[in-house]
Structure formats: structure tokens, C-alpha cells
Amino acid sequence: MLVFLLRRLAQSVFVLIAMMIVVFFGVYMIGNPIDILISPDATPAEIAETMTRFGFDEPAYMQFLKFVGNALQGDLGRSFVHGESAVTLILSYMPATLELAALGLFFSVAIGVPLGVYAGYKADRWQGRAIMTGSIFGFSLPNFWVGMLLILIFAVELRWLPSTGRGETVEVLGMRLSIFSENGLKYMILPALTLALYKASLVTRLARAGTQEALMQDYVKFARAKGVSETRILLVHVLKNIMIPIITVLGLELGSMIAFAVVTETVFAWPGMGKLLIDSILTLDRPVIVAYLMMTVIIFIFINFTVDVIYTLLDPRVRVKGEAS
């Protein structure tokens, strides 16, 4: 087990280093950051001075070593636009994205599991087919367009929910969250639903496949023979067995949820990491772009690592295979 953990950890570190190289040379080496740091009519002397101040006059590998050295100390540079440390900036925007992703995950389970179980139960009937065709639309609807439709219906026409922005926030554990206040929650519903739609169709399909398979198992036949009601079979026997793969997939999907939040946050002007990233890309604020990427990479590596470890703990076969190879 320890060997497995160490090997997995070494892999993660390797991915992190590889990502650092890709990100650095991708973002820093293309284009000229001087153009946005200095006014176009600056004198050559001023340009040279700024180049030295930011270290752009040094060779690429020196810049990279410096970047790595600073990164190891948790310093990914200063935002050109906000003038703050890029890491602090991202961290202050992060809670908004995380709570949006969390509510989105909740919605996708709350919508997807009941629909999927029902579709699996009525697999060959029109209800099942209709849900499956509907889930294709869930896959097909572009994220941003769904968001716009929701705004048009619930904010502009019906005026039930606010259209854009973030509501009241409450300080919880040092983070400003809006999920705990009624007003804040109102602002979260539409963006979270938008974010959840794609995942909800994924969960629907998973739950349907799982239900179809579970219904053919002996324990369901036995329960039926015992005279257990169909509702109880679905809600207790089937549901328990299909939730494990769904939770695993959702754990892995949390990362992509954070990535997709870029689009949703832009539509709803939600002040999270994704909106910050887009604004930084449009204003060429490189340190923030790099910091965002590095933080996302760390989140991803952490999620993948955790999922692998939990898997190994739950399923001895993976462990044995890993140690044998």
C-alpha cells in the first residue's frame, strides 16, 4: 500500500512539473508582455527599464528557474491589473466558484438520479425512451445558451430570480459564501442549474444503465419473490447499488465542473475564478492566468490522487494489480 501511495505521489509531482513547464512556456513565451505593461509611446530607455524590473531581459531558462523558485514559495507573481499577489487574488475568488460547483453537483444528482432510475425501470417503454432522448438534449444544449434562456425565462419574464451577480455573503470558516443566506442562494440557483444540466444528463445515463443492470440481479428477483413493493426495491435495493459508480464519476467530474464554470460565470457575471480567468485573458494579465492554471492543476491532481487512493482502499484488486506491475 505504501509503495503504491509513494508511486502515485511521485506521478503527481511529475505531472505538476510537466504542467509548470507547459504553462510557463505557453503563457510567458508567446507574445510580448511589455506591450501591455507600458504605454505604446514609451521611450526605449523606459522599455529597457521595465524589462529589467520584470526580468524579461534574462534568458528563458533563467526566467523559468526564477518562476519555479518563486512558485515553490507560493508566489506566482503580481497581477498587472489588480496589483495584488496573483495567488491571493485567485484564493479570494475561489470560494464563489467552489460553492457554485458544489450546488451544481447537488442539482445534477437531484435531477439525474430519479430520472435515470425511472428510465431504467421503464427502459423499453416510451417513458424510458423519452427520458433518454431528453438527456441527449441535455448533452447538446450549450452551457452558455442554457444560462441565457434561464435568465430570459426566470429573471426577465417571470421575475422570480435575480439575473446576474452574486447576492449577500456570509463569512464561514474565513470564506465569504452565499450558499448560507437566503438572498445569496437565490442568486446561485440559475447559475448552478446551468452548470448542472450537462452533468445531470450524464448522471441520468449512468443511473439508467446501473438500474437496468441491477434489476436483472438475483437480489432484486429475491426481493420481488419475497413480496417487497416495487417502490421499495427501487428506492432501497437498486439505489444503494447504483450510487457507488455515480459518486465516483461525480468526484472525477468535480474538476471539469470547475473548468466549465468559466463559461457559466461569464454568462451570470458571477465573481468566481472562471470570470477572473476570462477577464485576465482579455486584459492579458499573465500572472493571474498562470496562477489560475497552476491552482487548477493542483486541484485536479489532488482530486485524481484522492479518487485513486479511495479506489485502492475500497477495491483490493486495483492494489494487487498495481503492486504486481
Partner: protein, 351 residues
Amino acid sequence: MSMTAPPAPAPISNDPGRAWRIARPLAGIAVFGSLALLFGGVDVGVFALRVVLLVGLVVLAAALLQGKTRKFFSGPAAYMATFSLFVLVVLAIFATEISPQNPYDLRQLSIMDGRLPPGSTTFDGSMTFHLGTDEQGRDILSGILYGLRISLSVSIIATLIAMLIGVVVGIYAAWAGGRIEAVLMRIVDFQLSFPSILVALMLMAAFGRGLDKIVIALIIVQWAYYARTVRGTALSETRKEYIDAARGLGLPSWRIIFRHLLPNCVPPLIVISTVQVANTIVLESSLSFLGVGVPITQPSLGLLIANGYGYMLSGQYWMSMYPGLALLAIVASINLVGDRLRDTLNPRLTR
């Protein structure tokens, strides 16, 4: 093919299999050739080229479904999706001929016609804007038709090239084995562990806007996916007897790869690539919506939606609503057709 061959060779028309074997490569060449010529900016006989493209596409689709049409068209959803996909492709191919206005020809535009609701006419009453106009007086319907063409062609080209790279890498990895395979597959794993939208966003941030750039970004995002799939198929195929037999006959590697292995690895890709085209359209439109995709002079559906978004809250819904519906229609019909194709062509599902 039968043991008791007739003394005189049967006429070609009596053997449907043979006709298809001739038609398929011809249609493939027609499609690729006309696509290449159209994007190479060849001006000669553009209309004829488009007709060739359409005919080629239809023949290819028919060849794909040959003998399985009944299974494919089970249920109304399959009919509707195929029909709407066909209509949308025709609209995209003949956008210049069909659309009432060239929305990017400034001589045809008048700022006086800006932001008109659907159904209004031009200033002088010479033309009706069935879906309204945008802030610069461009007809939304024409914009959609042109945008549809850009969305479709960008995604199809990116998917085809990514598939080509993926097939080469995947087969090479499976055939070479050992360290080469390990390294290639680690790269694939590394890339696939990050969501495509994030990777594409960063690439576009680095490249800047542009049609060629977005195609490159979409290729980089997708190739690894195909490489992994092809490697899997190729690995299981190389273990089968016919490859052993070919090796036993002393055939050279290139011949085994191209004549025996490759034809058996590609069919599973057809279904995947159909669905991937839809995903690519969504990805491209998301990038364009975020402002890092296609250039303003060549708007795809995503950019049209982004342009109209600002007017949505003031009730001028048509500017982004109708391009959005077009986007939904094309993506949903591709996905539905892909879903049916998977059920039809996947041998694992046949009971």
C-alpha cells in the same frame, strides 16, 4: 464471391456490394477534394464544387448505412434527426445562394435597419427580415446560415485532422509497444486529465483569435482521445488470428498495418467522430462566446449569440435566441444521429 461462379462475369449493377465498393472511395475523394478546394479558396465553379460535396456526403452516409437502414430508422427520433441534419447541412453548404443577404457585404447593410424585430422590412421595403436584425442592420437569418457554415466546417475539419493524428499515434503505439507505447500513452493520459475547454481556452489565449488558430486548438484538444481509442482497438486486433496469419505469410509490417489492421480499427471511430463533431461545435461556440474563438469578421453561431447577449435583458431576444436555436438544432441532430449510429453499427450491442 460464391464457389459456383457463373461462366460469364455478372454485370456490375447486379452486385450491390461491388457498386458500393466503387462508390465509397469515389465519394470519399469527392468530399475531401471539394472540401480542400473550397477551403483553398478556389473560385472556379464554386457552386458545382458544393454540389459535388453534398452528393459525396450523401453517398458516404448511404454507404455507411447500407443494409442497416431499417435498424437505423427505428422510431420517429431517427427520422427527424436525419432530416434536420440533412437540411442544416444543405443550408450550410449553400448559404451564399440561399440567404437573402450577404451579412458581411457592407454595401447591402444599412444602419437604419439595426435591431429590427422579426418580420419587419427594410427601410425601403425591398426585403423582409424574418428573424430580425442585429445592431448593425444585418439579417439574423443570413447571419445564422453563414455562421452555421463556419461552425460546421471548423468542427468537421478539426475532427478529421485530430482523428488522422490519433489513428497514426494510436496504431504506432500499439504496433511499436514497449517504451514508445508507454511514453505516448503517458502523454495521452496527461492531456486527457485536463478538461478540453480549459486546454482550448489557454491555447486560444496564447494564439489569439483566428479561424486557423481555433482549428489548431481544437485538434490539439482532441487528438489524444482518438489515440487512446485507436490504441485500444489496435491492441485487441493484433491479438487476433488474421494478423498472426498475415505475419505467418511473411507479409511486410506496412502491408499488415495498412491492409489488415487499419481497416479494422477505423469503423469504431466513425461513431465516436460523429459525436465528437457535435462536441467540437459546442466547444468552438463556447470559446467564441467567451471572445477567444473565431474572428469578428467570420462569426460562428457562438459569436452571433455573444453579440446579441447584451440586448437580451432589454427584451431584444431574437439576436441571440435564433442563433442559439440553430446551434441546438445542429448539435442535437448530430448527437441523435450518432446515438442511432452507435446502436446500429456497434457489434457488441447486437443481441
